[in-house]
Symmetry: C2
Subunit: 417 residues, 2 copies
């Protein structure tokens, strides 16, 4: 099996509502300029990743784009051909778009790994999404295409928030987790984002009191009265626009680019597990993600205890706590305690979502799985500035999830230095 390396990558700012760069009706640039569109993010992330890794477009053997719903949010599909437009030398390359709901980026990364194992030496992986073009209500309907639409759309106008409120309700009723614990996850996310200049919520503060209290600025919003109390706006990931890209290489590819292995990260495992869209998972666990993680640990020959940094899919705060358990950082039902004890803070034993995660950094859907891997790579190579983890981490894990734990992509990465 050929080894696969992350040579580097790049990430655009993630922006949307509350971000100072985001143009909306009260922005001074309103009417003067438009926000970047999906094709802009595909191009910008790709070009920046090539620059970051000193790669010319001609050196790329294959490329993949992760995107969930460009056809809906920006009337644009066929993003492989969009990426081919990013540089004249990308034209003619084999490029494909991958979709697996919020795991679209993870699937693009996994396709890149297959391509290298199949013989390619240099692979460009781009993830991008634009979501701010429609109202939150319309966006929630678009995102519901990641669920079993006919069956699950009637649950609530905000389908996915309701599916995860169901989990939050179950956890508070049947484990030690409380709504305050979910608020703690939010506070950590915003605090980390405050150290990350690329984060959507970089300039936005969140105190434990704010996140714990239902208020005009932090309302509950579900229509389903039974589920409504279990999800506040502060528990949700952001509706963001953005793009992230990685350059993956074989050992020969690293040499072709004139890079040093010491500046790269090695993919020890990348396991994809897909659960049936027609099935309702237990609300108390992310069993499909746990299954992917178990396989990834086995393939990499490492254990959860050895992880030094992690990126997990916190589409909602409850998801982060369940991810701690799925990845083996905490026993079943004990995820909230791990968070409460501070173990997952930047200076904790296993820092999680150091750049702010989906709640703080933002969640341009197709970009997220790509960004998670880039974040681990950056932590290994001391590139995280104000949110750099101490102790020179060299081993980490990323868990990207699509739908209600229906597609899981778990990656274990090690510094090649």
């Amino acid at each position: 099996m050929r080894k696969v390396y992350v040579a580097g990558g790049a990430c655009t700012k993630y922006i949307g509502k509350f971000h100072p760069d985001f143009v909306w009706k009260r922005h001074p640039d309103f009417g003067k300029r438009e926000n970047p569109d999906l094709q802009d993010y595909v191009r910008d992330a790709a070009i920046e990743a090539l620059v970051d890794t000193h790669t010319t477009a001609a050196q790329v053997d294959k490329a993949f784009v992760g995107n969930f719903a460009g056809e809906l949010f920006d009337n644009q599909g066929h993003l492989g051909a969009s990426l081919a437009a990013a540089d004249p030398d990308l034209a003619g390359k084999p490029i494909a778009r991958l979709e697996g709901a919020c795991a679209s980026g993870g699937l693009a990364f996994a396709a890149g790994i297959d391509a290298i194992r199949a013989g390619a030496d240099v692979v460009l992986v781009v993830g991008a999404e634009v979501q701010t073009t429609v109202s939150a209500r319309d966006g929630a309907n678009f995102l519901a295409r990641a669920a079993d639409y006919k069956r699950q759309r009637p649950i609530d106008e905000f389908t996915f928030p309701a599916l995860f409120a169901r989990r939050a309700k179950a956890l508070t009723e049947r484990t030690e987790a409380t709504m305050e614990d979910f608020a703690r996850a939010s506070v950590k996310a915003y605090a980390n984002a405050g150290r990350n200049p690329l984060a959507h919520m970089h300039a936005h503060k969140m105190t434990l009191e704010q996140a714990s209290t239902v208020s005009d600025s932090n309302p509950t919003f579900l229509n389903n009265e039974e589920l409504k109390p279990f999800l506040r706006v502060s528990d949700c990931s952001q509706v963001s626009d953005g793009g992230t890209a990685l350059v993956l290489c074989s050992a020969d590819g690293v040499a072709r680019l004139g890079r040093k292995l010491a500046d790269c990260s090695e993919v020890l495992a990348c396991e994809v597990s897909t659960a049936a869209l027609s099935a309702d998972p237990s609300p108390l666990a992310l069993d499909n993600s746990a299954s992917a993680a178990k396989r990834a640990y086995a393939k990499a020959g490492v254990t959860a205890k050895e992880m030094q940094v992690a990126e997990v899919h916190d589409c909602f705060t409850v998801t982060e706590i369940l991810m701690y358990e799925a990845l083996g950082f905490a026993d079943t039902g004990r995820g909230a305690t791990l968070l409460r004890e501070g173990a997952t803070a930047i200076d904790g034993a296993i820092p999680v979502n150091t750049g702010g995660g989906l709640v703080g950094f933002g969640h341009p859907v197709g970009a997220t799985g790509v960004k998670q891997v880039l974040e681990l790579h950056r932590q290994f190579h001391s590139m995280c500035g104000d949110y750099q983890v101490g102790g020179d981490p060299t081993l980490g894990i990323a868990a990207n999830m699509g739908g209600d734990d229906r597609t899981a992509v778990v990656t274990i990465l090690r510094s090649a230095s």
Copy 2:
């Protein structure tokens, strides 16, 4: 490089307007049953392909789904998780959905090849699309997401028909091709479909007079007056629902399934070429498809003259003629002559689209690239019934195309017997 084999596959009926199974307001079953939805086609094609190849779901290592626009036509994305629901033993497998406009199926097939070269032994590739849920007008808008939407959508309400009418106009003005030649392509497609019980247009007749004449039953329909005369309904591929699936194997996989190599087909080459969405190609050639074909011939070590059967992407009749040239069956500007001489008929020197192609068999977008490969495999193994080519063909080529020649997937297949 590991060898990749097609072990077999299956195809649902392709149905839509004019097909007797298709439920619409004048159908006797109207109000009693609904047409199958996208998830039905994904499941049915997958299960039938497993049955055809005596493969259990547990034996599948990885799977891929090709689909263009499920989010739009059927409110359903995340089709990897949909496929995982097709059989309890598919749950937990790595599955991803690939999109590249009308080449989505070809890209899913290409991903399957990478997966086998990367180490998988048994890979399931499914292509499916449902398009009959909306009006032709709304459908044309959905399909325009395969173009550079902001720039090209204003061309015509029927964006893609207009883009290919532009090619038909250029050909009739600057080469020997005539509107009657395009009609001949249509007549061939319907005639072949008449021999194919799975074809959308199986029961529909088309004479040269009907296809050549603009009439109430064969109108022109573009709004753009300059382009309007160059495209009739008979020149268009069908708006179809359907699914097709293949089982791909390594040599070890063929043995694992207890299959004989002699019943399989070997993939000699599968080349993907992606052109920039922002560029306008020459109307007189499919340069991107030609580039993919050139690379495929070189990798396979064969020439155009050796091809015994072909499947080409005839989204419109003019595309078929241009494909003859792109694949090297005819010199530049001479594709129409090849057709006129009957060389591409079932009993011709190089039979093309023997089951009816996109115009006759139908064009459930994401299924098409998968179906093309299955058709070659079936021709090699004498499985084509009334449209079986004589002379026991053993070598063929398939060309699947997305957008206006923006993504091309060219596959060269040889009987392994």
